[in-house]
């Protein structure tokens, strides 16, 4: 099991710098008015950062397939929680809200 590769200190610093840059970028973008895309961009950046942390700092990239599956499963059930709850909230006003989204 210990045969697999490990990230090096260099990787850690590279990831760290990237994370800091992305933080700066996301703060910067927040000052622009992109309409609904502010949220999209911010969350896309957050997800990139999260992935970096997961894959390199938490070494998910170098972990077993089982561990990866565990993470995917967690996200899947999280989506179920959010998605099915929204299935109620988003259809509640179907008679009234002609356009529930903006």
């Amino acid at each position: 099991m210990s045969a697999h590769a490990h990230p090096t200190v260099k990787t850690f610093f590279a990831v760290w710098i990237t994370l800091l840059i992305l933080t700066a970028v996301t703060v910067g973008v927040a000052t622009l008015d992109l309409g609904p895309f502010n949220a999209v961009v911010a969350l896309a950046i957050a997800t990139t950062k999260a992935l970096l942390v997961l894959l390199f700092f938490m070494e998910l990239r170098y972990s077993s397939a089982m561990t990866k599956m565990v993470v995917v499963a967690a996200l899947f059930f999280l989506c179920l929680l959010v998605g099915l709850t929204l299935s109620d909230y988003m259809t509640r006003g179907w008679s009234s809200y002609v356009n529930p989204f903006r």
Partner: protein
């Protein structure tokens, strides 16, 4: 039944290794921890049972004349909270699961023995908070803690009960986590996934639910407490919050939780049927996979508790559809259990009688669950005694019966002593009859329109209520008997020997009671699960490992 000449008297085992109190309270032996749980949940079952009997007594007459309305409300709340969080959820997984999972997979212990002990302490601390709430004025929110009643209007001890539920939740999470890791990492050499006993599959599935579902309950209950303490408005309509959000989050856990309560029991049923029919379970793969299917599908159906609560019609229909799907894997299990008996060689030992009772009662409970899944019917019977009858059929009729079946089956393994067979059969009969008499009338009551959580009710419902109360007293005796004769057997029971039922499974291949580290030598598995053909064939006995 073959009596073995292997004497267990002189050997040291996990029970006689050390008698000091400290050796129990600080043990990390999964078997001892299982027994600590057994003792605790028995106490809580009695407590919950006493609340139940008071409920039934009050409902003997239509006028609410035995206790005050407030007292009644506290009674059913505390009955529900104690029975669910302090008894049924930990019952099979934390007692039998704890005891048997390592034995069945040929491990020395669970993967994290200290965490296991910690789970028990956490459980006790959580239970302490709940008991504190009960003693200092009780709790009257119903076990469901619906807002805004629980957050704003109840003037009972909601916060400490919520804290208690929160804490016991972590005990459940850790038990589940431990079981999953153990099944993944601690299996004996040669014990592949498809050689695992179905009991393990069932516990694995239940543990997945514990790990994924319980945290959501935890955060929800924290929000309830915060709302009560600091007037957070998240669930409070007066402040613009939505009480239905609480219900969504609550049932996201609490529906899957019903499968935490039933799945481990289903594992027990599979083991016992196989043993007393001397057969490999029919459709092993399907039964194993149906456990996983129940666990996953169980997360998709929660809003069937909310059809009339004010969710959108469309959501109600989606959830209704999904709820029907979750019934299918249970059907698969029932049919496979039945088919396992085909061409078996059946002995009517008491565990098997409990199993028969289980299948009958689970079918009634499950099929009435299908009634409730049907939106059009549920609209009428939700929050009536129909629902009360449904869930007692599945929780008491099925889960508790399965627990009893398992206790009989593994009692010889746990203590090294046989229970008295005749008494066991009598109590099985009493439970079955008393149970049906208690809860079948409640289906009728529900359809006739008697709402649940009613302290007083219109007189036309009295006859059925009296029947139900009468049944409950028989049921109480049925539950009391096993406690008495199990205790009796500790002293007077026959020595069981390592494998009194000649059952397959690694747990039977070590002494009864097992030694502290379970096996003298780690077993190496070279055979399929449920190799009853080999065990029973006169030429080839399976060699007993260790």
């Amino acid at each position: 039944m073959e009596t073995t000449n292997l004497s267990t008297e002189k050997k040291t085992n996990y029970l006689n290794a050390d008698y000091s109190i400290k050796s129990w309270l600080l043990t990390t032996d999964h078997k001892r921890i299982g027994l600590l749980y057994l003792a605790s949940i028995t106490v809580f079952f009695l407590l919950g049972g006493i609340f139940a009997m008071l409920i039934r007594l009050e409902l003997l007459t239509p006028a609410g004349d035995l206790v005050l309305a407030d007292t009644y409300n506290k009674l059913f709340t505390m009955h529900g909270v104690v029975m669910i969080f302090l008894f049924l959820i930990p019952s099979v997984p934390a007692v039998l699961g704890n005891f048997l999972v390592p034995l069945m997979i040929g491990a020395k212990d669970l993967a994290m023995p200290k965490l296991n002990l910690a789970s028990w302490y956490i459980f006790i601390v959580g239970a302490g908070f709940i008991l504190y709430a009960i003693l200092t004025g009780g709790l009257d929110t119903g076990w469901t803690f619906y807002t805004p009643y629980a957050t704003t209007y109840s003037n009972t001890n909601v916060v400490s009960a919520a804290l208690g539920v929160f804490i016991t939740g972590f005990s459940s999470i850790f038990t589940g986590l431990n079981i999953i890791v153990t099944v993944h990492k601690m299996r004996a050499p040669g014990l592949t996934w498809r050689r695992l006993p179905l009991f393990i599959w069932a516990h694995y599935a239940a543990s997945v639910i514990m790990v994924l579902g319980t945290p959501v309950l935890a955060i929800t209950i924290v929000l309830v407490a915060l709302e009560r303490l600091f007037h957070f408005g998240i669930f409070d309509a007066r402040l613009g919050g939505d009480p239905l959000l609480f219900q969504h989050l609550f049932w996201f856990y609490s529906h899957p939780a019903v499968y935490i309560m039933v799945l481990p029991g289903m594992g027990i049923i599979s083991e016992i049927i196989a043993c007393f029919a001397r057969k490999r379970p029919f459709g092993y793969d399907f039964v194993a996979m149906s456990s996983i299917a129940i666990a996953v599908l169980g997360f998709l159906v929660w809003a069937h508790h909310m059809y009339v609560a004010g969710i959108s019609t469309y959501a109600a229909m989606i959830f209704s559809l999904l709820t029907f799907f979750v019934a299918i894997p249970s059907a698969v299990k029932v049919f496979n259990w039945t088919a396992t008996l085909y061409k078996g060689s059946i002995t009517f030992a008491s565990p098997l009688l409990y199993v028969f009772a289980y299948i009958g009662l689970f079918m009634v409970g499950g099929l009435t669950g299908v009634f409730l899944a049907a939106v059009g019917i549920d609209l009428h019977v939700t929050d009536t005694y129909f629902v009360v009858a449904h869930f007692h059929y599945v929780m008491v009729g099925a889960s508790v019966t399965a627990f009893l079946a398992g206790m009989h089956f593994w009692w010889p393994k746990i203590t090294g002593k046989m229970y008295p067979e005749f008494a066991a059969k009598i109590s099985g009969l009493l439970v079955f009859c008393g149970f049906n008499l208690t809860f079948f009338p409640q289906f009728l009551l529900g359809y006739l329109g008697m709402p649940r959580r009613y302290h007083a009710y219109p007189p036309e419902f009295q006859v059925l209520n009296v029947l139900s109360t009468a049944g409950a007293s028989i049921l109480a005796i049925g539950f009391l008997l096993p406690m008495l004769y199990f205790a009796w057997s500790l002293r007077y029971g026959k020595d069981a020997g390592p494998n009194p039922f000649n059952a397959a499974g690694l747990e039977w291949q070590t002494a009864s009671p097992p030694p502290t580290y379970n096996f003298e030598e780690t077993p190496v598995v070279t055979w399929e699960a449920y190799n009853y053909d080999e065990i029973d064939s006169p030429q080839k006995g399976v060699e007993v490992a260790g």
